[in-house]
């Protein structure tokens, strides 16, 4: 039997290959993207993955929607930073750098236990609201208690002025990256194994049916509490790693935006799958850092992507792939592979058209001189003339139209035809 998730179901594909492919990818990627910025981005992806996995312990596994998970990430980071600074001040003597994240994890656990003790009594909206309030409270206090939080300027540390267990020089971004990978792997394994324990099972049980869980002897509050505390611990670990890669921590790491991003990434990836949050977190990290260089509209794209996922693919991107894979394996693609590809293509064309429309709008409404020519998909166009608008809208309408009103009914007809044929 496979994972114990809601929709994950039993699938060997999703069970084993990630454990081989992802570490391999983690080792190969820095060879390809070998600039400092590229390596830092990869490190951030690693951290985001731990954070998202920890978040999914709440949302996916226990059904707890939190709007304040960054509190534990951020507080873990702050405590780790203080320890790093102590090590710095002691002239580089004390706790080895490799273990600084453990400090963050301990801090996350500590605050998770404290805040968790009163926030997990109820799930659902009450829990969501409490986490929202707590997140705002902690974020506001980060600007008030500047002794601990360093005000809005934050705190700085120096990872090089700290001893290393293995004599590694962490001046190099690449070495730091491998440290992140190591911790990410450890965290992922632990979080994965946690799902297999009685606690992990009962977390799912409590998510699906807290009442029933009570009648098999479990206190849902305690199940949620332990899950919450452990999730906070892993969030703190991610925070501790962030301190090492960026050597800075400030109020944004406990802020609502951080909480929002982890929710976004986890959900986009797919909360029902173990690798869902990983995929989502990595994607969001890359998009967030690079999309903004290319388009002003990146927040809008983010919002639209998120809404589309919520509306049309509640199991996330991994869910889409997995469903299609299962259909394919079950032979559901037979005789209609072409139609599926056609729908995909039409959809992509539609998206392309929609992007053109959005880019045109941004140019038209936002730039000082809308009539200035600008480059759109390789063409230089003038946004004050009708032509580019007509073409863009046309592409979008044709694309989505073909997908929804031509491809979709055709697929439905084909499928029903095959199943009838099968019966006959």
């Amino acid at each position: 039997m496979a994972t114990n998730t809601a929709a994950g179901g039993a699938s060997n594909l999703l069970r084993f290959w990630p454990w081989v492919v992802i570490p391999l990818l983690a080792l190969i990627l820095p060879q390809i993207f070998d600039s400092r910025h590229g390596i830092t981005l990869l490190s951030h992806m690693g951290i985001a993955i731990i954070f998202a996995l920890s978040y999914n312990m709440l949302l996916g596994n226990t059904g707890l929607l939190s709007f304040g998970h960054a509190v534990y990430y951020g507080l873990g980071a702050y405590v780790a930073m203080h320890v790093l600074r102590m090590v710095n001040d002691a002239g580089g003597e004390g706790l080895p750098l490799e273990l600084i994240p453990v400090v963050g994890a301990a801090a996350g656990l500590f605050f998770g236990v404290i805040f968790g003790s009163f926030s997990v009594r109820r799930a659902g909206v009450v829990f969501a609201m409490i986490t929202l309030g707590l997140g705002a409270l902690v974020h506001s206090s980060s600007l008030m208690f500047s002794d601990f939080f360093g005000g809005e300027a934050g705190l700085f540390g120096n990872r090089v002025a700290a001893p290393s267990l293995f004599g590694v020089d962490y001046g190099s971004n690449t070495n730091t990256y491998y440290l992140v990978v190591a911790w990410a792997l450890i965290a992922a394994i632990f979080i994965y194994l946690l799902r297999k324990t009685p606690l992990g099972w009962m977390a799912n049980a409590v998510r699906d049916n807290p009442e029933r869980a009570q009648f098999v002897g479990y206190n849902p509050t305690i199940v949620r509490f332990i899950q919450f505390a452990l999730a906070a611990m892993f969030a703190g670990l991610a925070g501790g790693l962030f301190v090492i890669t960026d050597e800075i921590v400030n109020d944004e790491s406990v802020g609502q935006i951080q909480s929002g991003i982890v929710l976004l990434g986890t959900y986009i990836g797919g909360i029902g799958y173990f690798i869902g949050p990983m995929v989502g977190a990595a994607l969001v990290t890359v998009l967030e850092s690079s999309l903004s260089s290319y388009t002003e509209a990146w927040v809008l794209y983010f919002g639209l992507l998120f809404i589309s996922i919520v509306m049309f693919a509640p199991m996330g991107l991994v869910g889409i792939v997995h469903t299609q894979y299962l259909t394919w394996k079950a032979g559901g693609w037979k005789g209609n592979t072409g139609i599926r590809l056609y729908m995909l293509l039409a959809g992509l064309v539609g998206i392309f058209g929609a992007i053109c429309v959005i880019e045109l709008s941004y140019h038209y409404f936002r730039s000082w001189d809308p009539s200035a020519p600008f480059g759109l998909m390789g063409f230089t166009v003038n946004a004050t003339t009708a032509l580019p608008w007509l073409v863009s809208f046309g592409i979008a309408i044709i694309g989505f139209g073909l997908m929804l009103f031509h491809g979709k009914p055709m697929l439905a007809r084909r499928i029903s035809a095959t199943s009838e044929g099968g019966n006959a």
Binding site: F118, A128, S140, S141, I307, M311
Partner: protein, 314 residues
């Protein structure tokens, strides 16, 4: 001291009534559909922007009526083509949908109207000093806001208590599972309530946009506070929303208006202004005022999750 109290109550009631305009719609929607609409404050923002743009063409008074209707229509579209689809997946996706929607609306507003505040001003007919109280002027527009809020509360009350539609909604507020049994078209009722709630928020925006600032950040600024009002008042309770709005409005204004800290009142007792308790000891009420709503939110949810007037827990 008397001055302070008078100012606080006056300003607090004004702020409270604006909060009520937004929260009444939110609490109706939640009570009926179980959806905590994260994008509610976005509809408040849309109200302000619609009224601003319409006002340029038609003048303020027409916009005052048209803008909420437009916002309500936008709400109906969102419910019909967005929420209804997500509804089948459960409450968490619904919440997430509105969460994402809030971002999209903010971006679209910034796209069409820009990131800078728009010059949305009170109409000349209301832009004069109504009265002066102890050296401070109060503009007619502030009085007007109070009037709008009172009319709205009375109208809402009449609607809920005296009309058939109101009775259906009321029934649904206390027993959501019973609506279906009433034989009414439940999805229609949902769409109507959602649109109506959004229109109320839009009305709040029409006047709030003038009183405060009309910029794309106004939704995210107000959003959390509206939640606090709704939770404190009791989810689904309209009178609760009114009382909670006034409490929060007055309390927050009062905290801002007085100059108080434990250290100032009792003496510093040799406690330095550093360290966790030191900072708390020296913390002035003005600085606490900003986090006060969140504090109330968390405390309410811990100790009385049903709020002041709520009949059932969230």
């Amino acid at each position: 001291m008397f001055e302070t109290i008078a100012y606080s109550i006056l300003n607090g009631v004004l702020y409270g009534t604006l909060l009520f305009m937004m929260s009444s719609g939110l609490t109706l929607i939640f009570g009926m559909m179980g959806v905590l609409n994260f994008a509610h404050a976005s509809f408040y923002m849309l109200g302000a922007y619609f009224a601003y743009t319409l006002g340029l063409a038609t003048g303020f008074w027409v916009a005052l009526f048209l803008a909420p209707i437009l916002v309500g229509a936008a709400g109906a579209l969102v419910e019909r083509y967005g929420l209804r689809r997500v509804h089948q997946y459960g409450h968490v996706p619904e919440l997430l949908f509105t969460f994402g929607l809030a971002y999209v609306i903010e971006e679209l507003v910034a796209l069409f109207w820009g990131t800078v505040p728009v010059p949305y001003k009170a109409p000349a007919s209301l832009d004069f000093t109504a009265f002066s109280l102890m050296g401070l002027d109060y503009s007619m527009f502030k009085v007007f806001i109070l009037l709008v809020a009172i009319v709205m509360f009375v109208g809402l009350w009449l609607l809920l208590k005296k009309t058939r539609a109101g009775l259906v909604i009321q029934g649904a507020l206390s027993r959501p599972d019973m609506v279906g049994a009433l034989g009414h078209n439940v999805p229609m009722v949902f769409t109507f309530v959602f649109a109506f709630g959004c229109a109320l928020a839009g009305l709040g925006g029409v006047v709030g946009g003038i009183q405060f600032v009309t910029d794309p950040g106004m939704a995210f600024m107000m959003g959390p506070i509206v939640f606090v009002v709704v939770v404190l008042g009791g989810l689904g309770s309209v009178p609760g929303a009114l009382v909670a709005s006034l409490i929060i409005g007055i309390l927050q204004t009062f905290f801002l208006s007085i100059n108080f800290s434990l250290a100032g009142a009792i003496g510093s007792l040799g406690i330095e202004d550093s360290g966790f308790f030191g900072v708390l000891w020296h913390m002035e009420t003005t600085r606490i005022a900003a986090v006060l709503p969140y504090l109330l939110l968390v405390l309410t949810l811990i100790f009385r999750p049903r709020g002041l007037f709520g009949k059932r827990e969230a």
